[in-house]
Amino acid sequence: MSAAEALHARWSPDAGEHEHVVFLVEGMHCAGCARSIDKAVRALPGVLDVSVSNATARVSVQWQGHGATGLPQILGAVTGAGYRPVPLAGAAAAAEFQRERRAALKRLGLASLGMMQAMMYLSALYGVSDIDTAMAQLMRVTGMIIVTPVLFYSGAPFLAGAWRDIRHRRLGMDVPVALALLLAWLPSVVNTLLASGEVYFDSVGMFIFFLSAGRFVEMNVRHRSLSSAEALARSLPAQVTRVYEDGRREKVSATQLSAGDRFVVPKGAVVAVDAEIDPAAAEPQTSLDESLITGESAAVLRGKGERIRGGTVNLGAPLILRAVASVADSTLASIVKLLERAQATRPQIARAADRAASWFVAAILLLAAVTALAWWRVDPTHAFAAVLAVLVVTCPCALSLATPAVLAAATTRLARLGLLVTRADAIERLAWVDTVVFDKTGTLTGSAAGLLDVKLLGQMAREEALAIAAALERGSLHPLAEAFRPFDRPSMQVAAAREIDGAGIEGTIDGVRWRLGRRAFVEQRPDEARDTYMYLGDERGLAAAFEVGIPLRANARQTLEMLRGMNLDIIIASGDSESAVASAARALDIRRAHARLSPDDKIRLVEELRAGGHRVFVIGDGINDGPVLASADVSCAMGQGSAIAQSASDLLLVHDGLAMLPRAVSTAREALRVMRQNLTWALVYNIAAVPLAALGLVPPWLAALGMSLSSLGVVLNARRLARPARP
């Protein structure tokens, strides 16, 4: 089995005691499918843990190594349950996505074209009695010619799903759907051949179109969330320059590096694996940007022999490192793994409508049988009409549309607000949220450094001081140097510029030696207590002091006040330093703020909150937030963060600002309310219509009308949400 080999090559890190694998499953659409896969895999000997998420189509299995059960047996069990396992990553998955997307688009396209045409032709039969019989028959035949391919091509997944469910003796959502389709289509074909009576071809076409559209949206959402791990892995360089003992250098693939190998990282490049700084390095200290891993915005200094993690950016001189782990064992790889696992074990939100519908259909089947029997004894000529009326009038169309229609409408409204929903059930979960956890950098604050304050200490004008500072910082890769860029004057020439790591920059401008950095460095005095300012001065003394940092977003304060007004608790969880977090918390009036959290700490914080009964909404940015976003009840990434955090999150904020968050929460709450109305309406309609149909009081045409109207009512009710939001 080649899929098994591909999986094993990628996923056998804990080989030995316990083995663990995460893979995708095709053809899984409901909670029932997830349960049957779970059951099939659990039945194997030696399987320790199985978790199946139908939202992301992921299956995560842990099993005892060296036993009778191996990957081929697990994949075999999944195949035996009627589903197709697919490797999680790489070209195979990409090709799989493309194939699935094209097939789904074709089915949707055919259904929409067919639905419109069938409706156009068959509307001639609606309630008009003076149509002549030959013309009516022409319309019936045309409807049959159009809708039959739609049923067997566009509707194939539902028919196949129902067949699979029946073979495995269970009632999934596809069973009522397929039954309704076939029972509406079959009598229509019979009536067409007999050239009289009702046909429901247009209803069949419309139903398939609605269902296909729902499946298409669901598929898009799934594909987007799956590419996140790939995006994270891509941020590492594929090649590194290896340095041999004899000084020879050679470009090799990063995956070939193993512990002990030495390699060189140029200025501005990303370190491929976890490594330590060569003790024989020329510089005593080097400046690094670890924001990819820790979220810490300021550059950090590392000395000889210190450990740095893969994903770190070298800001200083070219650096010779000694690898301490291979790519697969490095920090970033474990973040990827964390992300995979978090996504695979995402808590399963009960899909009440799905389950209700499968109970519902069992009841309907029973009722139809009872109706048939009763009418058979009373008056056999009415039996078929009554059974058909029962089945058509109770077709769970409205029930199965109730939730997706609302979600689609709410998604549209959120998109207008600048929020993209990347997971279908995010809206439902967002409505339940009571705690909001914000990352600081890039979320509450912007992502680029800015000038917060300027103090003039000498005779120099503000513009002049800023221009000198900007000229000195011109060559610096330090993240905070960005703050000075807007004040740079190209005419100002800097000579003999030198960056001293951890201290500052010096350079000669117009014959004057300027220094910019810590006060002790500028005044060339022994070290003293640090403050948050950067000083500019020459030999004669200090000229100015600048406070540089990442400013809060313009609307952060109002947004948080509005969120608090909606009974939401607000917490800051940041990887940044205590002082930076405390000042942001003070400015925003937040009481709970946690600083210096690693990705694991953040997950622990979220899990503690959730264990305490809270429903947690995490808003973050940066790769280090990927796992924590995936472990939250619902998560949102800022659009300008790195690609990974975006794709791991349920929501993606595309506008650069937080102002839309309160409205997103209120939209989600409104969506939940409308969903409940819809479910109530669909159930009430069905419960009221069934006895009438069973008593033979509802002719089939009225049943068809009722079915369409109840669906229409549900859809129209949902459309209210898609109107432009009130200001």
């Binding site: 493309q98 997307r101 396209g109 022409l138």
Partner: protein
């Protein structure tokens, strides 16, 4: 009456043509990535993907 048969046949032919055109467009990869082509010009060192959606690097 016969004119309605002709018109219906014509309508079905147009529908068939539309379905064929849509399937052809999907199979040639035109719907695979709706954003890539628009942003391809902004990216450095990257050739614009060909019609099959394959990127040559």
């Amino acid at each position: 009456m016969s004119i309605s048969w002709l018109l219906v046949l014509l309508g079905l032919a147009v529908l068939g043509g539309a379905v064929w055109a849509l399937f052809w467009a999907i199979d040639s990869g035109q719907y695979d990535d709706l954003e890539k082509h628009a942003s391809a010009a902004l990216e450095e060192n990257r050739e614009i993907p060909d019609s099959a959606g394959q990127t040559k690097v």
